[in-house]
Symmetry: C2
Amino acid sequence: HLERYLNAHGHTLGHFPASIYCCTIGGNLATRSAGQMSSKYGKIEDMVVGLEVVTPKGQVIRVRPAPRRATGPDIGQLFIGSEGTLGIITEAALRIWKLPEERVFGAFKFPDVESGVVAMRRIMQSDIRPAVMRFYDELDTALSGSGSEEGGLLDILPLREAASVVKSLVPGFVRTAQRALLSKANLLNLVERFIRDGCLMILIFEGNPELAKLEFEEAKAICTESGAEYLGPAPAQRWFKNRYSVSYKQSKVFHMGAFPDTIELATSWDRVLQLYRHVRSAIAKHALVLAHFSHAYVDGCSIYFTFVAAGMRLEDRLNVHRKVWQAAMEACLKVGATISHHHGVGLVRSEWMEQELPSSFRILEIIKSDLDPQGIMNPHKLGFGRSRGEA
Amino acid sequence: HLERYLNAHGHTLGHFPASIYCCTIGGNLATRSAGQMSSKYGKIEDMVVGLEVVTPKGQVIRVRPAPRRATGPDIGQLFIGSEGTLGIITEAALRIWKLPEERVFGAFKFPDVESGVVAMRRIMQSDIRPAVMRFYDELDTALSGSGSEEGGLLDILPLREAASVVKSLVPGFVRTAQRALLSKANLLNLVERFIRDGCLMILIFEGNPELAKLEFEEAKAICTESGAEYLGPAPAQRWFKNRYSVSYKQSKVFHMGAFPDTIELATSWDRVLQLYRHVRSAIAKHALVLAHFSHAYVDGCSIYFTFVAAGMRLEDRLNVHRKVWQAAMEACLKVGATISHHHGVGLVRSEWMEQELPSSFRILEIIKSDLDPQGIMNPHKLGFGRSRGEA
């Protein structure tokens, strides 16, 4: 594995997607991946300095590595996010970094979502570059629960009781939920307590030891000024230890008869709270919804919604899933945000591509029809091949 | 002017090309511009979050602003560096920054080019982000001379004597030079003294006051460890004050009957010194050549060559100019570097585009022929319309 190889030689790529144990560099590039430490090391498009692509016609397209060039548009970028529709990425040259000498952890509890988002924005606009800055809303704080000593609700409860909690919260389990409301009042109180616990922010700085420490102190001052309580390093250390296991944990929810999915969006700071509220309300009509804010920039950040829904029959479940996506995408576009920060388009978002890229999608079609006239590469992905106006 | 407007509102774009007094944002985007503080604020492609382009067919292509998106390849990037060949950029949304609260200046004298390049690399690989880091070779240090209290050679000498120095150094003034060698030995000694003065590095940090100061201290330690002598802040302050006037000063050289031009290249750290030596030797056969290193990245940096040549007749001068470019481009490509870091292609580099982008230039041609089938947009720029193999 590339990251292990680099680590053994004192370096890191700085790219840590949750899928790190099963993904490939070609896949990271093709899907326009962004890792958990993107605020410090950049996203995959910032890491690539050269690549080679083989097109369906058998043409080999090479972009020679360079730290930067001004020799026309950056052609390599055309394949970052192409999701296998234009060619196969067969080679890439990537920027690497020295392994961090120091890693500083800290966690904070904010009274509400608003104050945490204000702090994130101030941190990013004060020349501070956290490697990780994740901020969880009340329910995400309660359920993922890195904030408490004991872990999250789902961690501390026995599976059967956790199932009751989830069932009591997830629409689609209506009758079960009503039962839970009556018989498991104590569990619901527990949920309440967790939710009143506020919103957790996790911060990690790494690299140059002196700079990492100072950046953390500067960020800490901003958080405190924004009304947050300092929780010490433990919750951030716990997150760091489990950072790749969250996605795999979702199977637990399947065993309960429900299903989880995630939707990540992004927008500028002035619209972040609006995006949060509108998409959350839109999803909440159909599913339990939690959210965290991450991948922050000088100008905005992404919001990562996790939803859990249930249905008695497969058909019901597909129907709910579809309704959630429809509601979330429409709310997102109405706010003027982008429909994907880093998960890509695939099939699930393809019908909204015309609205995401109203007049510029045609540019992709020009290239697609030249490089892959038969349309054999990953058909229907990215929205290719949909007739205009079908969306 | 945008920067003045932003400053008045407490912000900055962070984009400072030497042409700032006469350029436009559309031009910066179309030419893939990089400003003097690119190490901190990024290049123009890092600043743009949305844009609108009108194509020759009258199509309006819009990319809605987003801090980042993963909805297919970044179509906006296709127009960054298009040099007016694909359409006119009519609107852009750019990231802005808070005005820096603090600015820290420092300058160093390195014994030679090698030690300075090592220090630049270490600085960039230690999580330190100078707003400005410029490192001048011996001759550039002597002639631009921000290093000395009195300024550079060309600043302190009366015009007539400066002309003699330049003439004594610039090939093409052979007979004059020989005269100078005999009659102006004292001037040449002065040049010698300046050149023995070593190589100047200028560092500027800005932004968050505590971080800027610490980053400067960290950089200072690296420079000192690399054998540099600390010169205090004055040379960097002097450079900052005159940062936009260098380009305009070149007219002085024209008055002497010579002509200057510049060539900026870029490559990875492992090839930077090789690039410097090979291109310098290649140019030195035809012209006086000075160089500085700037726009540093984790993985490499650019080298900015200034050359001064002369010729009795216009034809001679054009001939020398052509020979210098030919020699520099060939040496650059042989090392595997890129032929332009930020000045772009235009006409002067168009014949080397096939070698710069051996197999990927065709992608640009696909888009060009669809968006501008008549070829009316900025004809011949970027190498469009050259028959294959003509280069």
